[in-house]
C-alpha cells in the first residue's frame, strides 16, 4: 500500500507512429522495471498484430518504481490505452482511471487528427497534460513550430514541452521527473467503502479472466468477495497483483492504485468495461458515472473460403469472443458463400483486427462481405427495427422510412490536397461543418454518413492525399435519408452476398461499378448472361456477358486421351469451388474480388 502523495497515474496520448510504445519501453527500461535481457520492443503490446501494426487494442498497465530527485520513491502507473476511435469508449474509461497524460507529438510531423480526438478525451477527463516532443534528434524536427501548433490547435500551454528522442533515450529522465513534479497525485478515501473502476479485462488461458482495476476509494484485498454493480455478479478474489509488467502478487490495493485480479471469472463477457466494483457486504452508495454498454456499429459476414473450415471458424470465433466482449456474432447462411457468421464490430479497425487474428492465429482463409452499418427501419406499423444485414431488408411496402448513422469526421490534410479532400467528402454525401487551420494545416470537419465511410473512404482518402491526411471520427446520431437496397442479379438470379444498402443518388454509380466488375470476373458460359443491378424491380445498371465462343483443345491424338481425361477430373474437383446460381457457376474468387472493391 502506497501513500497517495507518492502515486502518479498517467496515460500516453499519441498518433500512430509518433512513438508512444517506444516511449513506454524507455520508461520501463530506464527505471529497471524489466531486466535488460527481457526487454523486447513494444513490451506492452502483447499480441503480434498489436506489435506489427503499432496499435493497441486492449488497455494494459505497468507499474514503475521511480526514485525521484527529491529522494522519494514514487509509484508510477502507466495505463496504455487503445489509440483508435473504434475503441473510443474504452479509451474514455482508461482516461478516467488516471490523473494525467503525456501528449507525445512527433516533432517532424506535428499534431494529427487522431491526436486531437484522444487529447480531448484526456482534457474531458480533467487531466493535467505534459506535452512531449519526440524524434527531436531527426534533422527535420521543428520543435518551435510544433510547440506553436500545440498551443494553437489544442489550446494548451506548450512552452515547457519536453524534447526527447524515445529512440536514443534522450530526455527520458526529464519525462520521469515531469511525471512526478507536474502531474497531480490521486485522491481517495481509504476508509470509505470499496469503489474501483473496471478498466479492462482479458482472457488468459492459465488464469481465466484477468481484470484491470483502478481503486478510487477503500481497499481491496486478496480473498475479498466483490460485487460488480452493473451485472450484480459477485466473485471471490483468487489473486491480486500489480503488473511490472509481469504479474506480481500483492496483498492489497488502496486508493489511487492500479492492479489486476482474478476471481474464477469464465469469460470476458461477464465483465463490463466501466463497471464499478465494490465489496459484497459493505457496498459503496453510488456507482461511478459514465458506464455505457459497448454496441457494434459495423457489421459484415465472415465465411470460410473452404466450406470444410466452418467448424474451425466457429471454434476460433468463440475463442476470440472469450477475450473480446465488444464483438458479436451469429450464424449466417448465404447461397453464394455457404455457412458463416454475421459479425458486429466497434468499427472498421476492430473488424480488420478480428479478421486478421482469425486468419493468422487460427489459420483460416476468410471471405469478408462488404461492411454494413446498422440502419434503423421505421415500419409503417410504427415498429422500429435495426437492420444489420441488407439480406434481411423487409418488403419495401412495409417500410415508412430508413435512418442511417452519421459521423463527425475530423480530417487534417496538407494544403495541397485540401481541394481533393473536400471533393471526396462532398461526393460521399458529406456536409461541411468546419474548416479551420491548425497553424498552416487545414483541419476539416465533416458530417458524413457512416456507410459512405465503411465503403472505401480510407483507401480513397489515402490515395488522394498520397497518405498525408489523418482522419478520425465519432458517431453523432441517426438521420433519415433516401436509402434503398440494391440487389445484384446474375442471369436473373439475385446474389445475396452482393446486395447492399445505398443512397438512392449513389445507386447508379455503385451498381454500374459492380456489374462492370462482375462482367470481368465471371467466366463466360455456354450462353450469354445478363448481369444487373436493381432496386426493387427496377434495373439501374446492366451488362451482358457474352457466350463462350472458343474453348477447344487444338491437338488431341492417341497420346492425349489420358492427359485430357485427367484434366477433366481436375476440373471436376475445381467445380466444388464454384457457387451455383441457377445455371450460372461463379467461382468463389469472383466473389472475393467483387467484395474487395467494397472493402
Amino acid at each position: 500500500m502506497t501513500d497517495l502523495s507518492r502515486i502518479r497515474n498517467f496515460s500516453i496520448v499519441a498518433h500512430i507512429d509518433h512513438g508512444k510504445s517506444t516511449l513506454a519501453d524507455r520508461l520501463i527500461q530506464l527505471t529497471g522495471t524489466v531486466a535488460e535481457r527481457d526487454m523486447k520492443a513494444q513490451l506492452l503490446d502483447a499480441m503480434d498484430i498489436e506489435r506489427e501494426r503499432g496499435i493497441t487494442i486492449k488497455a494494459n498497465s505497468v507499474r514503475i518504481d521511480y526514485p525521484a530527485q527529491d529522494g522519494q520513491t514514487y509509484v508510477l502507473n502507466l495505463i496504455d490505452t487503445p489509440g483508435h476511435v473504434d475503441f473510443a469508449y474504452e479509451v474514455s474509461r482508461s482516461m478516467r482511471a488516471v490523473e494525467g497524460s503525456l501528449l507525445v507529438v512527433d516533432a517532424t510531423q506535428g499534431v494529427e487528427a487522431q491526436t486531437l480526438a484522444n487529447v480531448y478525451q484526456a482534457i474531458d477527463a480533467g487531466h493535467e497534460i505534459v506535452p512531449v516532443l519526440n524524434k527531436i534528434d531527426l534533422p527535420a524536427a521543428e520543435p518551435a513550430r510544433i510547440r506553436e501548433q500545440i498551443e494553437d490547435v489544442i489550446g494548451i500551454e506548450a512552452h515547457d514541452a519536453i524534447e526527447i528522442s524515445a529512440k536514443t533515450g534522450l530526455g527520458i529522465p526529464d519525462v520521469l521527473e515531469a511525471i512526478v513534479q507536474r502531474l497531480p497525485a490521486p485522491k481517495g478515501d481509504r476508509d470509505a467503502p470499496l469503489k474501483a473502476m473496471l478498466v479492462d479485462s482479458w482472457y488468459d488461458s492459465y488464469l481465466g479472466v484477468v481484470v484491470l482495476i483502478r481503486v478510487m476509494d477503500g481497499v481491496i484485498r486478496k480473498g475479498d468477495t466483490i460485487r460488480m454493480m452493473k451485472t450484480q455478479a459477485t466473485y471471490k478474489l483468487d489473486t491480486l497483483a500489480v503488473l511490472k509488467p509481469a504479474m506480481t502478487q500483492i496483498d492489497e490495493l488502496g486508493p489511487g492504485e492500479i492492479g489486476v485480479f482474478t476471481a474464477s471469472i469464465k469469460q470476458v463477457r461477464d465483465t463490463r468495461v466501466g463497471d464499478t466494483i465494490t465489496h459484497e457486504k459493505k457496498q459503496t452508495a453510488t456507482a461511478l458515472p459514465g458506464f455505457k454498454p459497448s454496441v457494434p456499429v459495423v457489421f459484415c459476414g465472415l465465411f470460410p473460403v473452404d466450406a470444410n473450415d466452418f467448424e474451425d471458424l466457429r471454434d476460433a470465433i468463440e475463442k476470440l469472443a472469450l477475450n473480446d466482449a465488444s464483438f458479436t456474432y451469429e450464424m449466417e447462411t448465404s447461397a453464394a458463400l455457404g455457412f458463416g457468421f454475421r459479425c458486429g464490430f466497434l468499427g472498421l479497425l476492430h473488424l480488420e483486427v478480428v479478421r486478421d487474428r482469425l486468419e493468422r492465429e487460427y489459420d483460416i482463409d476468410l471471405i469478408t462481405t462488404a461492411p454494413s452499418v446498422v440502419y434503423r427501419l421505421h415500419l409503417k406499423s410504427g415498429e422500429v427495427k435495426e437492420l444489420h444485414n441488407p439480406a434481411d431488408m423487409p418488403d419495401l411496402t412495409l417500410v415508412s422510412h430508413i435512418e442511417e448513422p452519421r459521423i463527425k469526421a475530423t480530417i487534417m490534410v496538407p494544403d495541397d490536397y485540401l481541394g481533393d479532400v473536400l471533393k471526396l467528402c462532398q461526393d460521399r454525401r458529406g456536409i461541411q461543418a468546419d474548416l479551420t487551420y491548425a497553424g498552416t494545416r487545414p483541419l476539416v470537419v465533416y458530417d458524413l454518413p457512416l456507410n459512405e465511410v465503411v465503403f472505401d473512404f480510407y483507401d480513397r482518402l489515402k490515395s488522394v492525399t498520397k497518405g498525408y491526411a489523418s482522419f478520425d471520427y465519432q458517431l453523432t446520431g441517426y438521420r433519415e435519408d433516401n436509402l434503398v437496397k440494391m440487389q445484384i442479379l446474375v442471369n436473373d438470379e439475385p446474389v445475396d452476398a452482393l446486395s447492399m444498402m445505398v443512397h438512392r443518388d449513389r445507386a447508379e454509380m455503385r451498381g454500374r461499378a459492380m456489374v462492370e466488375k462482375l462482367k470481368d470476373l465471371i467466366p463466360r458460359h455456354m450462353f450469354k448472361i445478363p448481369i444487373q443491378a436493381a432496386i426493387g424491380g427496377k434495373v439501374i445498371a446492366r451488362e451482358t456477358l457474352s457466350a463462350l465462343r472458343k474453348d477447344v483443345t487444338a491437338k488431341c491424338y492417341g497420346g492425349d486421351a489420358t492427359r485430357k481425361r485427367k484434366l477433366l477430373d481436375k476440373q471436376k474437383a475445381g467445380k466444388k469451388k464454384m457457387r451455383q446460381f441457377g445455371k450460372v457457376e461463379i467461382p468463389q474468387e469472383a466473389f472475393i474480388s467483387a467484395l474487395k472493391m467494397d472493402g
Binding site: 455456354m526 457474352s546 463462350l548 472458343k550 477447344v552 483443345t553 488431341c556 492417341g558
Partner: protein
C-alpha cells in the same frame, strides 16, 4: 460382353511408333522430343522390331489398318529403320489392302532428300510440319526452315507420295484475321487433299509457356479474335472443298487420316516408342498402356526386360465412356449412340438434353455430335457432360 468388343471394330486397329528426336526443340511444343548429338539408329530399329513382335503376340490376327511414325521428327530416321519397322509390322499382322502408312516430316531440304527412301520402304502418306508460310512467323515459332524450303518440300512430297498433308499453326502473335485469310488461301492452293490447322496453344513446360508466364509473348489473340480466326478458317476450307472432319483437321471426302480416325473413333492401337500410349480391347476389357518418356530408359527396358511398357491398366467403364465422348465429339460425324449405351451413356441424358437446348449438341440418325457452334467450345461441352 460381345456388344462391347464391337468398339475396336468400329475404330479399327493401328500401330503408332514414336521417334523421340528433333534437331531443335520448338518453343511451343510439349511433345516428347529430345535433342541429342548421336543416335544409334540400328539399335532403335532392333527395339522397334522387338516391340512389334511382342505386341503381335496378344493381338494376333488383327487386321492392321494403319501405321504412323510420329515424333519428335521422324524424318530424321534413316529410311532403313523405317523399312525394317514396316517389314516387321507386315510380318506381325495381316495388313488391310488399303493400309495407310504415315510419316511426319519437317520441310527442310535435307529431309526432303530422304522422301524417296521412305516411299520405297512403304510410307504412302506424309504429314509435313510446315507451321507457317511467313518467314517472320517461322522464326518466331523457332522453326529451322524457310517458307521457300517449305513450299519446295511440299512439292517434292506431292511428287513422291500418293497422299500428302501439312500442318499450319495459326492464331499467332499479332496475326489479324485478314493476314490469316491470305496465308490460308496460299496454303489451300498448295494443299493436296488434307490439312491440319492448329490454333497456337501455350502449354506449360514449354519455352512459350515460360515466356507467357513472365508476361512476354504479347499480341496473342483473345477469345473473340481466336473465334473469328476459327470461323474464317472453317469458311475458307469448306469453300475450297476441304471441310473440317475434326476440330483441327480438314480433308476432301475420303482423304481423312485413317490412323487418326482410330483414335477419335475409339479403336485399338499399339503404342511403341518412348512416351507412346496404347489402347487395346482384350476380352471385352479396355487396356491402356504407357512407356517411359526418356529414350534411354525405353531402350533399356526393351533390351533388358523384353517390354517397353511401364504401365498397363484397365480403363474403367466410366473413363472409357469419357474417352469415347472426348475423342468422338471432335469429329464432325460424332459418335454412334449405340456404341456408348453399354457404358452407361443413359445417365448423361439430362445433360445432353440441356446442351441440345443450347444448340451445342445434336442427335441425328442415332449419332450424337457437336453442332457448328458447339465444336469450337467443345471443352466447355465436355466439362458440362463429364464433370
Amino acid at each position: 460382353m460381345p456388344e462391347v468388343t464391337r468398339f475396336d471394330e468400329g475404330g479399327g486397329f493401328g500401330l503408332y511408333l514414336h521417334w523421340p528426336f528433333c534437331q531443335a526443340k520448338c518453343p511451343y511444343c510439349d511433345f516428347n522430343s529430345h535433342v541429342v548429338s548421336r543416335i544409334d539408329q540400328n539399335r532403335w530399329a532392333d527395339a522397334y522390331e522387338a516391340e512389334i513382335a511382342r505386341a503381335a503376340r496378344e493381338t494376333e490376327g488383327r487386321v492392321l489398318r494403319s501405321m504412323f511414325f510420329g515424333g519428335g521428327t521422324p524424318s530424321l530416321m534413316h529410311p532403313e529403320v523405317v523399312d525394317r519397322a514396316i517389314a516387321a509390322a507386315r510380318a506381325a499382322w495381316p495388313a488391310a489392302n488399303d493400309i495407310e502408312i504415315t510419316l511426319e516430316a519437317n520441310p527442310t531440304s535435307v529431309e526432303a532428300e530422304r522422301f524417296r527412301g521412305y516411299a520405297a520402304a512403304g510410307v504412302n502418306r506424309v504429314s509435313v510440319g510446315l507451321q507457317s508460310l511467313r518467314n517472320d512467323d517461322l522464326r518466331r515459332l523457332g522453326r529451322l526452315h524457310s517458307a521457300e524450303e517449305a513450299r519446295a518440300a511440299v512439292a517434292v512430297a506431292r511428287d513422291v507420295f500418293p497422299r500428302v498433308s501439312f500442318d499450319l499453326i495459326y492464331a499467332r502473335q499479332d496475326q489479324s484475321v485478314e493476314d490469316w485469310r491470305e496465308e490460308l488461301a496460299e496454303a489451300l492452293a498448295m494443299a493436296a487433299d488434307h490439312l491440319s490447322l492448329y490454333q497456337l496453344t501455350i502449354e506449360d513446360g514449354t519455352a512459350f509457356g515460360a515466356r507467357a508466364a513472365a508476361g512476354g509473348l504479347r499480341g496473342l489473340p483473345d477469345e473473340d479474335r481466336a473465334a473469328d480466326l476459327w470461323e474464317a478458317t472453317q469458311a475458307a476450307c469448306a469453300a475450297a472443298g476441304l471441310p473440317s472432319y475434326e476440330v483441327s483437321n480438314h480433308a476432301r471426302e475420303g482423304a481423312e487420316s485413317r490412323h487418326n480416325l482410330i483414335y477419335w473413333r475409339g479403336g485399338d492401337w499399339v503404342g511403341i516408342g518412348p512416351g507412346a500410349h496404347g489402347r487395346l480391347t482384350l476380352d471385352g476389357r479396355r487396356i491402356a498402356t504407357e512407356t517411359p518418356l526418356a529414350p534411354g530408359e525405353w531402350l533399356a527396358r526393351v533390351e533388358e526386360a523384353g517390354s517397353g511398357e511401364s504401365l498397363r491398366e484397365e480403363v474403367s467403364r466410366e473413363n472409357w465412356l469419357a474417352e469415347l465422348l472426348m475423342m468422338g465429339l471432335r469429329l464432325r460425324e460424332g459418335i454412334d449412340l449405340g456404341r456408348v449405351e453399354p457404358l452407361g451413356a443413359a445417365a448423361l441424358e439430362g445433360r445432353i438434353g440441356g446442351l441440345e437446348e443450347l444448340g451445342l449438341l445434336e442427335r441425328v440418325d442415332g449419332r450424337l455430335r457437336t453442332t457448328v457452334t458447339g465444336r469450337p467450345v467443345l471443352n466447355a461441352v465436355l466439362r458440362e457432360l463429364l464433370t
